[in-house]
Point group: C2
Chain length 348, copies 2
């Protein structure tokens, strides 16, 4: 099989350009990477030959020689919320591109497959790593960090000790959910949580409890129900809510997906939102603005989370000192934004 298909011509190499321009390969290389070291006359001669032949440097060879790559591998878990992460990826991509890097995504699927990602990282192709779930591919006796690549976690508490992270200030954001409902006059709240032990859940739960304490309400102002951030979990939460004798008028959901399921379920049971109960979600997904009624929620700064994480990695790759970029905790917290929409209104 021919290696190239464009008319049988093989890709031009630096030597071809040198010959065409009547100079040495060193001069061609310099024309491309350090143009001001050349006499402008020579430079133009080389550039003309480059354009003429359609030369693109073979960056595999370049990488082998200089030992550094312009590729950043972003680890994306398979089981995740695509609309949410697509916007985070966008922020990462734009930031990396501005800094001259190329984003490549590696999906974590499972054991055998993930080994491939570890090898990719160890193989010298990749300059740095980002993970958007806090997790990294693992294999028995091997870690993707063995290769010594700089790495940053975005949007999640890193499962790896000491990994720098950029994430939402979950405690504050959850407090904002509570404060919103309390400010509307609701005095008792129902909470559909995330899965037990989950970092987001633990942190947000703390924010909720503290906000209630701070408002001077007792612990019985909060009725909790264990959810799991899924649609089905929202349905189950609503069923539990409907079964209560004395229902709180405010509902805090762990995310928008379960909030939408909650609304759908209580409406099917004859309750009206927001007339009978006010509800607030978490995440700010697109759908939250399309559903009926539109959903009050806390929007995560998705683009900014990705962009900030990527910026941090780029600075690390440039050799900046970790201590100069990060607080001692190793975590940069970003703030959520309250979107007050139709699913919440003043208690009567």
């Amino acid at each position: 099989m021919r290696k190239t298909m464009n008319g049988g011509r093989r890709a031009p190499k630096i030597g071809d350009v040198a010959r065409a321009a009547g100079v040495s390969v060193a001069t061609v290389s310099r024309a491309l990477s350090a143009p001001d070291k050349l006499k402008s006359e020579t430079r133009e001669k080389v550039m003309a030959a480059v354009a003429e032949l359609g030369y693109t440097p073979n960056s595999v060879a370049r990488q082998l020689r200089v030992g550094s790559s312009r590729l950043v591998l972003v680890i994306v878990p398979r089981r995740t919320n695509p609309p949410f992460f697509s916007e985070v990826l966008h922020g990462i991509d734009v930031t990396l591109a501005e800094a001259g890097y190329v984003l490549i995504t590696g999906y974590m699927e499972g054991r055998e497959h993930d080994l491939r990602l570890i090898e990719l990282a160890a193989s010298g192709h990749v300059a740095g790593l980002l993970t958007i779930s806090g997790e990294l591919p693992r294999a028995p006796g091997r870690s993707i960090l063995d290769a010594g690549l700089p790495a940053v976690a975005v949007c999640a508490d890193p499962k790896v000790d000491g990994l720098p992270a950029v994430l939402l200030d979950d405690e504050r954001a959850a407090a904002m959910q509570v404060e919103h409902l309390l400010s509307l006059g609701h005095r008792r709240l129902f909470y559909v949580s995330g899965p037990a032990g989950n970092y987001n859940e633990v942190t947000r739960h703390r924010g909720i409890v503290r906000a209630i304490e701070k408002a001077g309400l007792g612990r019985n102002a909060l009725v909790e129900h264990r959810g799991d951030y899924t649609f089905a979990g929202g349905v189950a939460g609503a069923d539990a809510y409907l079964a209560l004798a004395d229902r709180p008028t405010g509902v805090v959901c762990g995310n928008d997906e379960s909030a939408i399921a909650f609304v759908k379920t209580v409406r099917a049971a004859g309750l009206r939102v927001p007339e009978d109960l006010s509800l607030i979600g978490f995440d700010g997904i697109e759908l939250a603005d399309f559903c009926e009624p539109t959903l009050s929620t806390i929007a995560q700064p998705r683009f900014a989370l990705g962009a900030t994480g990527a910026r941090l990695l780029v600075d690390l790759l440039a050799g900046a000192d970790r201590a100069d970029l990060l607080p001692r905790s190793g975590k940069i917290l970003m703030q959520g934004r309250l979107l007050a929409r139709d699913s919440s209104r003043a208690a009567n």
Copy 2:
């Protein structure tokens, strides 16, 4: 800056392994790529040293030497439906991994950024290309195909002449929408289309018209409204529908998103689905099963589309003859599947 962080040790090279095992570099290389050419005793000695040192071959060097890569670049347009494509990507990823390739995704953002992708392809890092929108990054005077990489389009009509493609049989699928509603006894249909000129729209429209003709109904059995596959387009379509004096009882939507918007809008106007009108969407997105009422639709075989496209590329990369893998049209068509749910029922 130190290159590695794992205690200052640099990554072991093939020479280090050779020394540790007391053999030559050629033997180490063979132990890894052609184990049966070695005496088992030697092989085990080498493998022990490999494990001991935690050696991973530098695939940048390998690639430079052998001239072939195991990376496949998947071109993903930024403006696209993430939940839909994430499942397609999954199919691609699994298939490529089985064949020993690694998937990397490149997002198309716009001119300057896309140039980076062209350079990545020309740089020797990449073995082959997949596009999931039919489009490829372009820059003045350059095409990503100049590098001569094998390429395949999935899920879309290729905008590039002669690019092999794997896509849905849109004409048949659209005909299935019509047949479903006709079989339920609806005799007049309202159609919320996709944007004018769009390949999917043109092809599906043909399927709809032919299905109606085949049923012996006249052209006036179909009322058409120009949509654009968005939520807002669905709202506008519903408004047009509501303004009709004599409303058809069957509604065909170009996709699920606009179908959901349509339902929401007509219900707000007091109509009931499916009591007053039956409706069918297109795509089979998750949400179609969560909304109220659950949406009848045509599910695209998303995983299979990705897997089949990736399989095709892998075969091409292995040197298979294009003519042996593809029909003369250059397109492999896959069938949609009817999901009859609550939004459609027998006409009364």
